[in-house]
């Protein structure tokens, strides 16, 4: 544990310095890449709460990622074209202000997670995996064939949404906005994990029947975890739309759910910093291998398999093993 904590500090240090290097040496692409790591890390931290800490293996978190992305895209699209979004129950013509967009993203992701959670949490095991996938696929096919917001072509918003005073179009500034959210999300997750609520949901992962027998409504606990988890992932989706200034149904695809899941498993499940490490590892491999060979996915597959077979419990566990019994 000791080593993992030190390593986590290093991760934070890296996250603060790499983009600054990118800025100084005029390699802004490294800022973009690190921003991507941070955003996907946030999505992964969201999933990790449900999957890693509570044992809710959701194969449908792309639904929240995509919803957050689409809410952002749609609000900003209307603001850009000054088209009315709807006139009932109140008049709205969208917004391109992040301070307006974020709360709406958070509320709508939470609402979607509540609905999906209410329906899905009746099932367990593989059934839960598949029913969450089913809901995400429904949204995916809906988004593809819904013409108003571009369908398969997606939706370009051209300009990043704005904040008062700050220039969000500047890569480094936008990066620090994302990093701010990452820190907030890590902080919230850490607090949750160490609370009595956290004790309950971590216990549920290990032995749900026992938790029921001590008088805890496990359904409600799981539902709340699922909602928080979906909300965090939805927020990441919003930032991702702003990073690319573009949103399309591809982020709702099951492969997206799979990728978020891979970040979590790769970094080490139920480890606070795991998803960041997983996302960083994945993206670095993708970038370096992609530069050498067309068949980089072959090698990526091979590396992932070796990781699972030999490292077993995620990259971060490498920094823990030796000290396991000193807790």
């Amino acid at each position: 544990m000791i080593i993992e904590k030190v390593f986590n500090k290093w991760i934070l240090l890296f996250l603060f310095t790499i983009p600054v290097f990118g800025f100084v040496f005029e390699e802004p692409y490294y800022i973009t890449l690190t921003t991507k790591v941070v955003i996907l890390g946030i999505a992964g931290i969201g999933l990790n709460l449900a999957l890693g800490y509570c044992g809710l293996i959701s194969f449908g978190h792309a639904a929240f990622f995509g919803l957050g992305g689409y809410v952002t895209g749609i609000l900003s699209f209307h603001a850009l074209n000054s088209e009315l979004m709807f006139s009932w129950p109140f008049v709205s013509s969208g917004s391109s202000d992040m301070l307006v967009i974020w709360p709406i993203v958070i509320l709508s992701s939470a609402f979607l997670a509540l609905i999906i959670g209410l329906l899905s949490l009746r099932t367990t095991g593989v059934y839960f995996i598949m029913i969450t996938l089913a809901f995400a696929q429904m949204l995916y096919f809906f988004a593809i064939s819904w013409p108003n917001y571009g369908g398969e072509d997606g939706l370009s918003i051209y300009m990043r949404n704005s904040l008062p005073i700050i220039n969000t179009m500047d890569p480094l500034t936008f990066y620090f906005i994302c990093l701010f959210w990452l820190l907030v999300v890590i902080f919230i997750s850490a607090k949750l994990i160490n609370s009595s609520f956290g004790m309950a949901f971590q216990a549920i992962k290990q032995n749900e029947e026992r938790v029921k027998s001590v008088g805890i409504e496990t359904f409600k606990v799981k539902l709340l975890v699922f909602v928080i988890s979906g909300t965090i992932t939805g927020l990441a989706g919003s930032l991702y739309t702003d990073l690319n200034r573009f949103i399309s149904p591809s982020v709702l695809n099951w492969q997206m759910s799979g990728e978020i899941m891979i970040f979590v498993i790769l970094g080490g499940i139920a480890r606070l910093y795991g998803p960041i490490v997983g996302a960083a590892f994945f993206i670095v491999i993708e970038q370096t291998l992609g530069g050498y060979t067309e068949n980089w996915q072959f090698w990526l597959g091979l590396i992932l398999i070796l990781e699972i077979l030999y490292v077993r419990t995620g990259i971060l566990s490498l920094f823990e093993k030796k000290f396991k019994y000193e807790k």
Partner: protein, 249 residues
């Protein structure tokens, strides 16, 4: 009626043609330990599962402290005061012993969850948990993770979890299975002490313990209660001898 804390009437459950419990009527008085004995597969554990509500029974009623709890869910029953142990130790493996107890104290300690307050800083909870660990003689092992505990210690912890809930009745499913002599002795003393607060329905194979502890004994076979009475009455019962051939009664 008044002296009965738990009253179960005509509880039946069948899977197809197979009746796991067949019109079971059994009750639990204040201050007593009521032992439930019978051969393996007689339906003892299934009966416990139906009382706590993790298995839904087909017909019959369950009354706890003059309140009909037949339609309540398992969690609701646990909340109003039914506490159980499992036949096979069922604890939270990656939690330390004390955290297991704290988990069990959560429901009683506050109505709602604290989302952001660190539980480790909750001194009251942890000092209460320590008291319970002391009762089950696990004080020294409070920080050991439950999966690293010995079998006997896990049985104790299991009972500790039930204790922590401070319920109206205890349902203990073979709490002494696999315990050594000193462990059994500790349990017997403990049960004698706690039964005045909350009576115990006890499933146990260790007949010495049963006869040392029980105020009343019921014998179950093929899902039916075949006899109920004091220890002496049961010892003398011919029918019970048939059921329990091989046991020295």
């Amino acid at each position: 009626m008044k002296n009965k804390i738990l009253n179960i009437k005509n509880l039946s459950k069948s899977y197809g043609a197979f009746k796991v419990t067949d019109e079971i009527t059994i009750d639990l008085h204040f201050d007593e330990i009521h032992a439930l004995i019978g051969p393996n597969g007689a339906g003892k554990s299934t009966l416990i599962k139906q009382i706590v509500g993790s298995v839904k029974h087909d017909i019959g009623s369950i009354i706890l402290d003059q309140e009909d709890i037949t339609d309540l869910t398992d969690v609701e029953r646990a909340k109003i005061g039914i506490s159980r142990t499992f036949q096979v130790s069922s604890i939270i493996p990656q939690f330390s012993a004390i955290d297991n107890i704290v988990l069990s104290l959560l429901d009683k300690s506050s109505k709602t969850f604290q989302l952001f307050k660190s539980i480790k800083n909750n001194k009251d909870l942890y000092s209460n948990a320590k008291k319970i660990l002391k009762e089950i003689e696990l004080s020294e092992k409070s920080d050991i993770s439950a999966s690293d505990l010995s079998h006997g210690d896990r049985r104790k912890l299991e009972v500790g979890l039930a204790l922590a809930m401070d319920p109206k009745v205890f349902l203990f499913d073979e709490p002494m299975a696999g315990l050594d002599e000193s462990g059994t002795k500790m349990m017997i003393n403990l049960f004698k002490k706690i039964k005045t607060n909350s009576p115990i329905l006890l499933i146990e194979h260790d007949m010495d313990a049963v006869f040392a502890l029980a105020d009343r004994v019921s014998v179950i076979n093929y899902g039916k209660i075949v006899a109920t009475g004091t220890v002496d009455e049961i010892r003398k019962n011919e029918l019970v001898r048939d059921v329990y051939l091989g046991y020295e009664i």
